[in-house]
Subunit: 382 residues, 4 copies
């Protein structure tokens, strides 16, 4: 018998839509007993939140998140608001005994993140952070290959997240969709927004990072601020490059920017092992590039694996269509909900939990410290 | 105010799932007033159809399609059963004044198709055929570029639909998922199943086809039949190649097979115009390849357009995510429902209607006749 | 000890340069005992042929090919003139006991070709036709994989040779570089010029072709003729598409055109076997695409093999640079000379001989007959 | 009238062959008045150098480079020996008034390099360093596009040179072909061998580099030494990553390794400008990837420019074949000789001269110092 899991969503932007879609789709494709119910959505502007609720089928609305997190009929709080609000909401939700699904990055910094971890662990509530790229089937397949030991000793891990949407110098900071340019709302620039994804995937695939050395740049120094109406100093990092060492001895080379003309959302990673190398590109998210040194010499080459077989070979894909037919970006969220629900049913929480996400936050703090001090930084324990 | 459109679905296989997903998603992304309601689903095995209804949220089930098409509370019938049942159901549904959304190909042959066209036109019911690939954003973009006259005189149109899933000689014909190998259920092999898509896209993009010359091959001559349990002669075409001429003077080269090892669902087309060429590949459905001869000579080259901008530039994509984030195969069905609903609201039916699909059926008949007679065939008027 | 092989070259156009380069390079890379010596080059315009001789280091010039083929100090005649002159020169050269290296296609048609074969076989002179693409390392590797039996039963062979350089309607026929548009000089259009290559590779890789069905088109019906100064009817095929059957049961799909905007010299082939598929593209000639069904299911995909290892794994490449460094188009000619010389030394002639090339000529005749009669044609014995 | 330029080559390894081929080919394709003559080749082992001379057509041999550089009949000395011998030979050659073509990197370090610059400038002899990648047509085209101002403000420059041939831990250091692993012969590892190329191209395309921050790694700490027969500490860098700032404000991200399984010689660069981005990959050296922001929005995408038009549009290519036919890696050397000869004829030396190459050497010193000190280093004036 299906059992409802009542969702209370806070925020309705890009991520609010992505999460709502995941809740709506998950039971059509994944056979969990728990079924998400879109119980309530919360945002400050009543007319807008009502329209959103109507469009997605939320049963009710709130305009004060404190009311939402206190509601008895809500099982889980989904936090889709700017980063500077994550901690306060999450801690309050935990106090109210709610499960929490929080957008990434976990927090504005590691200190805040630690408080959030403490809160959910003290309250013993299920929790997860939406690092959705782990659940792109090609990325999950990479994880499996690594766990099977196919790579051997790893020498290199590289990741990039390149965009180009902020090149326009007259783009304001703050406001709908643009809070990511406002240091007070976002906490950081491309490091927290984009490299956070790269780091989460990396530590999942390649383990702990020991030390980092970083540089950041802010190309456009001043932008008009939507809230104040004034031209203000830009506080975020427009670009961020770092290298470093993983605990397994491999070298890291990471880069992110919003000034790479021609790249919309080029999140790529590549991992070079003694026996196998893997590479992936969000722009063609359904493919995993695999170089298998064990292949016969004369026909050794990078394989472009179209990760769309509806068989257990290809993670999650047995639930979708037939071979060759790609799923979209949005499916990664659906998979995360499916795994979260399964985690609730089995008692084995699906990563990344808040604690897992804190590790990424600690590395983010370390790279920004390195950029500030122009020195190598040893990554502290999360 | 939202108005319901009550759907009665017949069949629940691969396409039943794809259509159900489209009905479930469309209102979350597209602002139509009509909202599909999953009113009933029909299939012979009661336990299975009930499970399907529960999974997808259908309000009721039927095990006799005649009951379903007679139900007063159903506005539209969706036909997702093997090809040999399309005509009978569609004609009966039309008699009952139901709108019809029919899986492709329209019918077993053109004669059957004509009866279906007559039925829906006589009954004046809205109708469409699920040639979903027209609504992949990259394909729709190709249509726009052609309609803008960017290509100039067209010289060549090529299409292929290559698969490899029937190479195994011990695969049975008939049965769940395998009725496509049974001539009595499918009416044809790769021609009707795969080339039908290629032809539909082609005549939409490049206009009427005048004459064709075709060869077919059945590589595996006998297969066990699931229903009879006996090894029987295989009646379908395993491979089909044809060339011909479009009314605009351009040359056609089409091929389909299920024996092209390494290709899961390689539906590709390429159109070469005097001033611009376009190419597309279902395996990377979010990309359109564009060669623009007007580009400066020294930097002229094939452009890989990532058709994911959330702006009116890229068809349908303003309704989804942000630039660089691909949608999946399934979205093509969602788009078709959106356009079907808009067509109902505006009174301008969204193609392809049954009549449009009949043109494809006539060409399918012509190529199979050519293969049989080993002669060129002039394509008759649809 | 090195022994000279005195070359007498007739013609100095595109192919004259390509062959001269091959003679100049071969001994630097391949350890044959015979070393080509650029003894003489022949063309009608004395000033121009002298300049060419000076540039390439030919020891002498002739302006009458009959004198050249009669010269005692010439061992081998290289024929690089328009197709309508091949037969006469080759037959005369054979009479004079010269080895012959003839540009492709062998002749204007099979009848002419048979006379040439008779002439060289009667005279017992070494002979070869410059179907150079066999000796692109990636193509030779394909041959090896096929010979090793890796493909299993073959189902499909496809080839295309697409160009776009004759779209301009005011391009003249005839004259330097444009004799390929003149039916009297070329004998045929894209069929003889481009499909000849595709057919040669195909029968080498996939064996004899049994039957064909073809269509041709001449898009630009009239062009000014350089020699007469008048606008004349164009006699060549601008585009040519055919399908057919190989003796091994596999299906052929071939196409060539000079009206495919965006393609400079897109010679591609793909062969689909039960266990392995191979694909190649002249635009990236150093890569072979390999799909190996024996690979583990979850990481099965098309491999892009960079055929540049300086090891015996990759044909010819042990003679060039280091892994990853590509050779050019021109190397295919160097390899052909190397193999021709080795053939002379070992007594095992390197294919394709005139007799091998006659098979291609017979197929060319068959497809053009099919296009003319609009019927299937059984390919006669060569 | 052709005038001879007598070449005296020292060394006959991989580069000796590449340079010899360039001298042999240049006059066949490029209309310079000066024609290189292979006058003499020098190496210690007499039998081997005689064989090499015979194969390539050198008129004479030497076994003592001091004799060669003193010979009156030699105009230019080509230095193809391990890095630790460059300075001594070059300085002596300059004293003897010889032109010098020196393999890269210029020297073991900047101090040595400065002495070499002083020597050639004092002696007023023509000089160049074989940073051949500048003269791959696609790379030269990139330079043209930049010089035309098409990129606008540049934000990012990235380069990588990834190989995988030293992963085997039992590969010795020192010896034929393996001196690159011996710190005493090579001076550095991948930095001097591979990043030197990346840096040379970068400063040519994007200008001076101001500051750098670097890490290096030696994965295999000990290897048997061919000369001593003993297992010795490995002194070279196996991998090297650095970031930094160019004088134009753009950010650098460079990486090189010989431990990236699957990459034979993946030299790539990408430059992101406000209005245009460019990318190139040695594995497909005939292509330049161009993203032009000025293209119409709906068909904006990365263009794959096949840089093979035999027109002035594509640098050097008007001297080779016809559109679509790629040249090889080796042609980059031929182009460098052509430009060197033209420089001699016009009096405008073709870059990179020793002085140009010194700038790369200074950056190499800076990155290695940064790796050693774990600090940012300001790049000193060359």
């Amino acid at each position: 018998m299906a059992k409802p899991l009542n969702i209370g969503m806070i925020g309705y932007g890009f991520m609010g839509r992505a999460h709502s879609n995941a809740y709506a789709q998950v039971s059509h494709f994944f056979p969990t007993q728990l079924k998400p119910v879109l119980k309530a959505v919360c945002a400050r502007e009543e007319a807008k939140v009502k329209a959103f609720a109507a469009q997605w089928g939320y049963e009710s609305v709130e305009t004060d998140w404190r009311k939402l997190v206190a509601r008895k009929d809500i099982d889980a709080i989904d936090i889709c608001v700017p980063n500077n609000l994550h901690a306060e909401i999450a801690i309050e939700a935990a106090k109210n005994g709610k499960m929490i699904l929080c957008e990434k990055p976990l927090a504005m910094n590691a200190a805040e993140g630690r408080k959030m971890v403490d809160a959910v662990e003290k309250a013993k509530v299920a929790n997860t952070v939406w690092y959705n790229y782990r659940r792109i089937p090609a990325v999950t397949l990479a994880k499996r290959l690594i766990d099977e030991g196919k790579l051997g000793k790893v020498f290199h891990y590289r990741a990039r997240f390149l965009q180009d949407w902020t090149i326009k110098a007259d783009l304001p900071q703050g406001g709908t969709g643009l809070w990511r340019l406002d240091i007070n709302a976002a906490g950081a620039g491309v490091s927290g927004d984009l490299l956070a994804h790269c780091i989460d995937t990396a530590i999942w695939l390649n383990g702990r990072m020991d030390s980092v050395c970083c540089m950041t740049e802010t190309f456009v120094k001043e932008r008009p601020h939507v809230l104040t109406g004034k031209v203000e100093k830009v506080g975020i990092d427009d670009a961020c490059i770092f290298f470093g060492k993983f605990a397994n001895g491999s070298l890291a080379n990471f880069e992110s920017t919003r000034y790479a003309r021609g790249h919309k959302a080029l999140y790529t990673f590549e991992i070079n092992g003694e026996n196998m190398s893997l590479a992936w590109d969000l722009h063609d998210l359904h493919r995993l590039q695999v170089f298998d040194y064990k292949d016969e010499g004369k026909i050794r080459g990078w394989k472009s694996v179209h990760v769309t077989d509806n068989s257990p070979d290809h993670p999650y894909m047995d639930k979708w269509w037939v071979p060759g037919l790609a799923i979209g970006y949005d499916a990664s969220f659906t998979h995360q909900v499916a795994d979260f629900l399964t985690g609730l049913e089995t008692g084995k929480p699906a990563p990344p939990t808040f604690r897992d996400a804190l590790e990424t936050q600690v590395i983010l703090d370390s790279i920004l410290e390195s950029a500030r001090t122009q020195k190598w930084v040893t990554v502290p324990k999360a």
